[in-house]
């Protein structure tokens, strides 16, 4: 189960994720990001309520990161311990802008 809450402020898009980002839910996020990233220069992913992220979820984050590095910037905020641990292990911590 994954809830995706999007809010736009000009060219800034904030996406708050709630639940689990895994094989079953990551296609939803991928589709959701694909349709709303046009013209966005600042993407903020709020992971405060994200319980779990699997490798499939990481793949979506990486794709978003690559996309945003061409058209602006992306940062990840409010990362909780569980997700932070995964970011550390996978090396995402060094690649993503985490606040």
């Amino acid at each position: 189960m994954l809830n995706i809450n999007k809010s736009t402020d000009g060219s800034k898009l904030t996406v708050a994720l709630e639940g689990r980002l895994d094989t079953n839910t990551s296609p939803d996020l991928e589709a959701s990001l694909q349709e709303s990233l046009d013209g966005v220069t600042e993407l903020v992913l709020d992971l405060e309520k994200l319980d779990y992220i699997s490798s499939a979820g990481l793949r979506v984050l990486l794709a978003a990161h690559k996309m945003m590095s061409k058209q602006g910037s992306m940062k990840v905020v409010h990362v909780n311990t569980t997700v932070m641990e995964i970011f550390e292990i996978t090396g995402f911590l060094d690649i993503l802008t985490v606040e």
Binding site: S55, R59, L62, I89, F92, I95
Partner: protein, 581 residues
């Protein structure tokens, strides 16, 4: 209703409970009820009008006779004389009988003759039995005859009397002149009789006598009887004819079409069971009743067509699925065979023992392990996990495995192997797939492991006689994400008796029914429950522990693990032995 199911009935029982026989029965019962009601109403109306007509005729006869008598003769002397004599006779003794001698003189009188001749005229009218002059004896409830023109055996002499019902005669005595006076009675001699009458009154207003006309109702009764029999006979004939025709009509328009549909359904089932390819069981029926039955037939025909189409689709889809399943099974075998899985893996080496296990969540998976000798003294070990699962992951895994092993065989450092692999994969990775890799090279002679980690789980190490612990090694980024990244090497020194345990996230992230994760703590506990066990047993312990934790929850991710035990050279083991004890 019959208690048996229609399928259990014999042919005879089916006939008894068939629609046709029910329609026949219902029609008969309905006709009987309707017929009897109509009969009762008919008989009532018939008898009422006929009786009414007789009363009216009888009464007007009486009136007519009375008015003629009034004009032609004075009845007073005769009636008074007869009544006087009668009373005298009855006064003697209540039970005295009529004495013809005493009254014979009255018949000789002239006024008696006149009265009789006037009244006799009316005897000729149809259904009139008797017309006579009589007086009612209130005290004894008797009708006393004064003059009776009848010449048959039933002739009554003046003064002769008959007992009558008091109640009926009351109306005659108290008549106010309106309506018609009549009394219907059943007599033993004449059957049903209707007596109508008109009173004669003297100057004082007292009744002197009545002119009474008896009309026989025998015709009415006979008429009713014959009407009843004719009607009943007619009813039975018409009823049966009607029921027969109705049943025949229903058979043609309802029962035969239903039987045809039912037969078609039976044939349909039979042909399907026997595999006969007939697809017009219902459409060939050609039922044109224009009602619900035609509708039923066309609905059945549509259903047959839809079922046939559906079945065709289903067969196609099933065949397709089967084909994919076969391919997946084959793919699974190819994938399994790609991973080294013959044990003991290196029987010629006593310095180490290695065992690995992999179980994809679906038919094929993205996890893989690998181990192979680079040269006589170097064993390369790989533990990797491709993002996502299933066929895409499996394809990506195959490519990754080959690229990694090709690079490893070039005898370069693990960090370089990862870097080369990453750059190659990144150069052509539009789908943004990635793989986490832990790659280590064991120097067999010394026990030194040089490793690099590209975003993979921390390895667990057990040093000699110790406990398994995670090594927070230096992490690089996953492979396939960003090209040009550098990876770092680090070393782990394995003394004889040390063990190295590698795994994918399928183990710590195995979930139970409450979505709680297994975690690395449980994994370390399971390893440390029996740290001295051989590599195979250690892996089995983890398997048991994970499946015990997950219970019936479906395995959501691929599970892969590898365990290496470093034993060292024999002389090293000999040196270590006293230490172990």
């Amino acid at each position: 209703m019959p208690e048996k199911n229609i399928r259990e009935m014999s042919e005879q029982e089916r006939k008894r409970y068939s629609l046709a026989s029910r329609i026949f029965q219902s029609t008969i019962i309905g006709s009987i009820i309707l017929g009897i009601t109509a009969l009762l109403i008919g008989l009532g109306m018939f008898s009422y009008s006929l009786v009414n007509q007789y009363i009216s005729e009888g009464f007007s006869l009486s009136e007519n006779a009375a008015s003629i008598l009034n004009r032609t003769v004075d009845i007073k002397p005769l009636s008074e004389a007869v009544m006087q004599e009668y009373r005298a006779l009855r006064a003697q003794d209540e039970h005295t009988e009529y004495d013809p001698e005493r009254f014979s003189s009255f018949a000789e009188r002239e006024d008696y003759q006149t009265i009789c001749s006037v009244l006799s005229e009316y005897l000729n009218f149809d259904q009139v039995e008797f017309v006579y002059l009589a007086m009612y004896d209130e005290d004894r409830s008797a009708m006393v005859y004064i003059a009776d023109p009848d010449e048959s055996e039933e002739h009554m002499m003046p003064g002769e009397w008959e007992s009558v019902s008091e109640k009926g005669m009351k109306r005659f005595l108290n008549w106010d002149g309106t309506g018609r006076l009549y009394e219907i009675d059943r007599t033993e001699k004449y059957g049903w009789l209707c007596t109508t009458g008109v009173p004669f009154r003297g100057e004082d207003g007292a009744i002197r006598a009545f002119v009474l006309t008896d009309v026989s109702l025998v015709n009415v009764v006979n008429g009713m009887k014959s009407l009843f029999w004719q009607y009943t006979a007619g009813l039975i004939i018409i009823m049966n004819l009607f029921a027969y025709l109705l049943t025949r009509q229903m058979k043609r328009t309802v029962i035969q079409p239903i039987d045809a549909i039912s037969q078609a359904a039976q044939d349909y089932v039979k042909d399907r069971r026997e595999g006969n390819d007939v697809d017009d069981h219902f459409s060939s029926l050609n039922i044109k009743t224009g009602d619900e039955i035609e509708n039923l037939s066309s609905v059945m025909s549509d259903m047959e067509r839809d079922l046939a189409e559906h079945e065709e689709d289903l067969t196609r889809v099933t065949a397709e699925k089967e084909r994919i399943n076969t391919e997946l099974t084959l793919a699974n075998r190819i994938q399994t065979d790609m991973l080294p899985n013959i044990y003991p893996a290196f029987p010629e080496y006593s310095e180490f023992d290695i065992y690995a296990y992999s179980k994809p969540a679906r038919e094929v998976g993205g996890d893989f392990y690998d181990y192979f000798l680079i040269d006589q003294d170097h064993l390369c070990m790989v533990m990797a996990d491709v993002s996502d699962k299933g066929i895409p992951a499996a394809l990506f895994m195959m490519a990754s495995k080959i690229i990694l092993s090709n690079n490893a065989m070039m005898n370069i450092r693990p960090s370089e192997i990862l870097k080369n692999t990453n750059d190659l994969i990144c150069s052509n990775n539009r789908e943004e797939m990635f793989v986490t890799v832990w790659l280590g090279i064991l120097e067999i002679s010394t026990g030194k492991v040089t490793a690099a980690n590209a975003g993979h789980e921390y390895p667990a190490v057990m040093h000699e006689n110790g406990r398994f612990e995670l090594i927070q090694d230096k992490h690089g980024f996953i492979i396939g994400g960003i090209s040009g990244l550098e990876y770092q090497d680090y070393e782990i020194m394995l003394e004889p008796g040390s063990k190295l345990f590698l795994y994918t996230d399928g183990i710590p992230e195995a979930a139970d029914a409450a979505s709680e994760l297994y975690g690395t703590d449980r994994m370390l506990d399971a390893l440390n429950s029996e740290p001295g066990a051989d590599v195979r047993k250690l892996i089995e312990n983890i398997q048991d522990s994970v499946s015990g934790f997950a219970g019936n929850t479906e395995q959501s991710d691929d599970i892969t693990m590898l365990c290496l035990e470093y034993k060292g050279k024999e002389q090293m083991r000999d040196q270590a032995e006293p230490h172990q004890k």
